[in-house]
C-alpha cells in the first residue's frame, strides 16, 4: 500500500517550535545533618531520631547511643592512659592547631571569635600540663623505714560530662579530663559547635573513643550515664536544673562514682582554671619501693 493511501502525514509543523535552552540548574547545597561522635565515627542516633536546632537537623541521642559511647570510651581508655604524657600533650597541641585553622566555621555558627581563640589557648595551656601534672600533683613522701614512698596520680577512667552551653565551657571540661589519660562521654549543649569540634578532634590524631560527643536532651541520657556501672566519674558542669543534679548524684552513688557538682552558672570559663579540673579526675596511687641497702 502506498503511503499516500493512508492517513499518514508528517506531524512536523512547517515551522519547528523554538527550543529554548534549559535554564542553567541552580546548585542544591548539601544540607548537613549534625551527627553523634562515637568511637571516632559519626553515626546517626541508633533511635533514628533528629531534632531541629536553628534550622539544622541534629541527631537526638538515645540511651543506647550513650551505652555505645561508654563501650567505645572504655575500649580506648587503657591505650590512651598508656600513651606517654608527652605524646598526649602533642595530640592536645594538634587539636589547638586544627581548631585555629577552622576558626571561621565556629564564627559562622555564632561562636564569637574571641571565644574560639580563648578555646584554642585553653587547648595549648592543657597541652603544656600533660607532662607536668604528675610532678606538680604527685610527690615523694618522707616515710620511716628503708622505702621510697611515691604518690603517683593516675587517670580515673571513663568520665561522663554534662557540658556547659558555651563553646569555651565545652573545651574547658573536655581538655582537663583527657589530658591526664581519661576518656570522656560528653553530653553537649550547643550541638552544632560541639559536632564541629568533634570534626576537629577526628582530624587531630585523637584516638577514636577518647572523646565521644552526644547531642540531644541531657535530661534523657544523663541518668543512664550516672547509673552506669562502667563509668568512673561524672562531671555535672552543665546541669542547670538542681533537681536533676540531685537525681544524677544519687544515681551516681550506686557504684561510688566520683561526682563533680554543677559550678556557678555565671561562670564564663574565661579565668585561669587552675589545677582543680585536672586533679578532680585523678586517683592517687601510693607506691612503696624498698631502697635496698
Amino acid at each position: 500500500m502506498k503511503a499516500a493511501d493512508t492517513a499518514w502525514r508528517h506531524t512536523l509543523a512547517k515551522k519547528p517550535p523554538v527550543v529554548t535552552a534549559p535554564a542553567a540548574p541552580t546548585r542544591l547545597g548539601v544540607r548537613k545533618t549534625y551527627k553523634l561522635f562515637i568511637g571516632g565515627k559519626f553515626p546517626r542516633s541508633e533511635s533514628g531520631r533528629t531534632y531541629l536546632v536553628n534550622g539544622d537537623n541534629v541527631a537526638l541521642a538515645s540511651r543506647k547511643d550513650a551505652r555505645d559511647a561508654v563501650v567505645a570510651a572504655r575500649a580506648a581508655q587503657p591505650k590512651w592512659a598508656g600513651a606517654t604524657a608527652y605524646n598526649r600533650g602533642q595530640v592536645l597541641y594538634r587539636i589547638a592547631e586544627m581548631l585555629e585553622s577552622r576558626r571561621d566555621e565556629f564564627a559562622a555558627q555564632g561562636v564569637p571569635v574571641a571565644e574560639v581563640e580563648a578555646a584554642v589557648d585553653r587547648w595549648v595551656w592543657y597541652a603544656g600540663w600533660a607532662d607536668k601534672i604528675a610532678q606538680v600533683h604527685g610527690g615523694a613522701n618522707p616515710v620511716a623505714g628503708p622505702f621510697f614512698n611515691i604518690s603517683a596520680p593516675e587517670p580515673t577512667g571513663v568520665v561522663a560530662v554534662v557540658a556547659p552551653a558555651s563553646f569555651l565551657g565545652l573545651v574547658s571540661v573536655i581538655a582537663p579530663a583527657i589530658v591526664t589519660g581519661n576518656t570522656v562521654v560528653v553530653l553537649a549543649a550547643g550541638p552544632q559547635a560541639a559536632v564541629t569540634l568533634a570534626e576537629v578532634l577526628a582530624t587531630s590524631d585523637v584516638p577514636g573513643g577518647v572523646v565521644n560527643i552526644l547531642t540531644g536532651n541531657a535530661a534523657e541520657t544523663a541518668p543512664w550515664l550516672a547509673s552506669h556501672d562502667d563509668v568512673n566519674a561524672i562531671d555535672l558542669a552543665g546541669v542547670t536544673d538542681l533537681d536533676l543534679a540531685t537525681e544524677l548524684e544519687r544515681a551516681a552513688a550506686g557504684n561510688l562514682k566520683r561526682v563533680l557538682r554543677p559550678g556557678d552558672p555565671e561562670n564564663d570559663f574565661a579565668g585561669d582554671p587552675g589545677l582543680k579540673p585536672m586533679v578532680a579526675l585523678l586517683e592517687t596511687k601510693t607506691v612503696w619501693h624498698p631502697k635496698g641497702f
Partner: protein, 304 residues
C-alpha cells in the same frame, strides 16, 4: 564390608544441603527481636545452657576451682541467678572440679580422645576417656577423626565413636564434629548422622581451636539433623554449638533458631548447650541490666 557399604550408601543418600537456602534461613531467624520478659527468660535459659569452658595449656587447679565456683553461683550478688549447665575442662583438671561440683546438679564435662586434633591411636583415646570418667566426669566431649572422615573412612569413625561410647559407661557422650574442618554443609549433615547412628548423646560443632567455630547456618543444619533423626528413630539427640558465641545477642539468636526449627523439646539444658567462656559474663551483665534497671560493667563480674 557390607556394613561399610550400607553406612556409605546411607550417608551419601542423605539429601544435599541447600547452601544458599540454609544461610538465608539462618540470617532471617537472626533478625528477631526479643525484649523485656521474654528476654529475661531467654537470658536465664541461656545461662542454664552454658558449658562453662576452659581448655588452655595454662589451666591450673586454682583456676578451674574458681571457674567451678563461678558455675555454681554465676552472680554472687543475686541468688535468683541460675547455675550453668556444666563445667568443661581437660581430663587432668577433672578431679579438682569434681570436688567443687559434687552434688550440685552442675554437670562436669571433660574433653577426651586426644582433643583437639583427635590424631591418636584408639587405645590412647579410650584410656583418655576412661580416666576422665573415673575421675568424675559425667559428660565426655570427644572429637571425631576428621582425617578419616574426610578420607571417606566412615566405618573407622563410626567404630571409634561406638568404642568411646562404650568406654564412657553412664557418662553422656558429646561428639565434636569440628565443622570448621569439614568444609561443606553436606559433610556436616553426614557427620551428624554418622555420630547419631553410632550412639552420640549430643553432637557438638567445634573444639574452639580452629579459626571457624560455631555459626548459625551450621547449627541449623545440625538441628535439622537431630529433628529428622528423632522422627526416624524416636531417639532424641542434643546439640551444642561451641566457640565464637560471645554475646547475649548471639545466644538469643540460637534460642530463636531452636524454637523455629526443632521446637520446645530442645529448649532445655538437657538437650542444648553453649560451649563458651566469655558468653557468661555478657549474659550476667545483661541480666543485671534487666534486674537493676541500669547498665552493668565488667568490673562487677569475675574475668575468666
Amino acid at each position: 564390608m557390607t556394613a561399610t557399604l550400607d553406612l556409605r550408601a546411607s550417608l551419601h543418600g542423605l539429601p544435599g544441603v541447600d547452601k544458599v537456602g540454609v544461610e538465608a534461613r539462618a540470617a532471617a531467624l537472626a533478625t528477631r527481636s526479643v525484649k523485656t520478659t521474654a528476654k529475661a527468660a531467654a537470658i536465664d535459659l541461656a545461662i542454664r545452657m552454658v558449658d562453662l569452658t576452659t581448655l588452655e595449656g595454662a589451666d591450673t587447679p586454682g583456676k578451674v576451682r574458681a571457674l567451678a565456683a563461678k558455675a555454681l553461683r554465676p552472680d554472687p550478688a543475686d541468688s535468683s541467678c541460675p547455675h550453668v549447665g556444666a563445667v568443661c575442662v581437660y581430663p587432668a583438671m577433672v578431679p579438682y572440679v569434681a570436688e567443687v561440683l559434687a552434688g550440685s546438679g552442675v554437670h562436669l564435662a571433660s574433653v577426651a580422645t586426644a582433643f583437639p586434633s583427635g590424631q591418636a591411636p584408639l587405645d590412647v583415646k579410650l584410656a583418655d576417656t576412661r580416666d576422665a570418667v573415673a575421675a568424675g566426669a559425667d559428660e565426655i566431649d570427644m572429637v571425631i577423626s576428621r582425617g578419616a572422615f574426610l578420607a571417606g573412612r566412615y566405618d573407622h569413625v563410626f567404630e571409634e565413636i561406638v568404642a568411646v561410647k562404650q568406654a564412657c559407661g553412664d557418662a553422656h557422650l558429646k561428639v565434636i564434629l569440628e565443622t570448621g574442618e569439614l568444609a561443606t554443609y553436606d559433610n556436616v549433615r553426614r557427620a551428624s548422622w554418622l555420630a547419631m547412628l553410632a550412639g552420640a548423646d549430643f553432637i557438638k560443632t567445634s573444639t574452639g581451636k580452629v579459626p571457624v567455630a560455631a555459626t548459625l547456618p551450621v547449627t541449623l543444619v545440625m538441628l535439622e539433623a537431630v529433628r529428622d533423626f528423632r522422627a526416624r528413630t524416636g531417639r532424641q539427640v542434643g546439640v551444642k554449638p561451641a566457640g565464637g558465641i560471645k554475646t547475649t545477642k548471639d545466644a538469643i539468636k540460637y534460642l530463636v533458631m531452636i524454637n523455629e526449627t526443632v521446637g520446645d523439646d530442645w529448649l532445655d539444658p538437657a538437650w542444648f548447650r553453649f560451649g563458651a567462656s566469655s558468653l557468661l559474663n555478657d549474659l550476667l551483665m545483661q541480666r543485671t541490666k534487666l534486674t537493676t534497671g541500669h547498665y552493668a560493667g565488667p568490673d562487677y563480674f569475675t574475668l575468666d
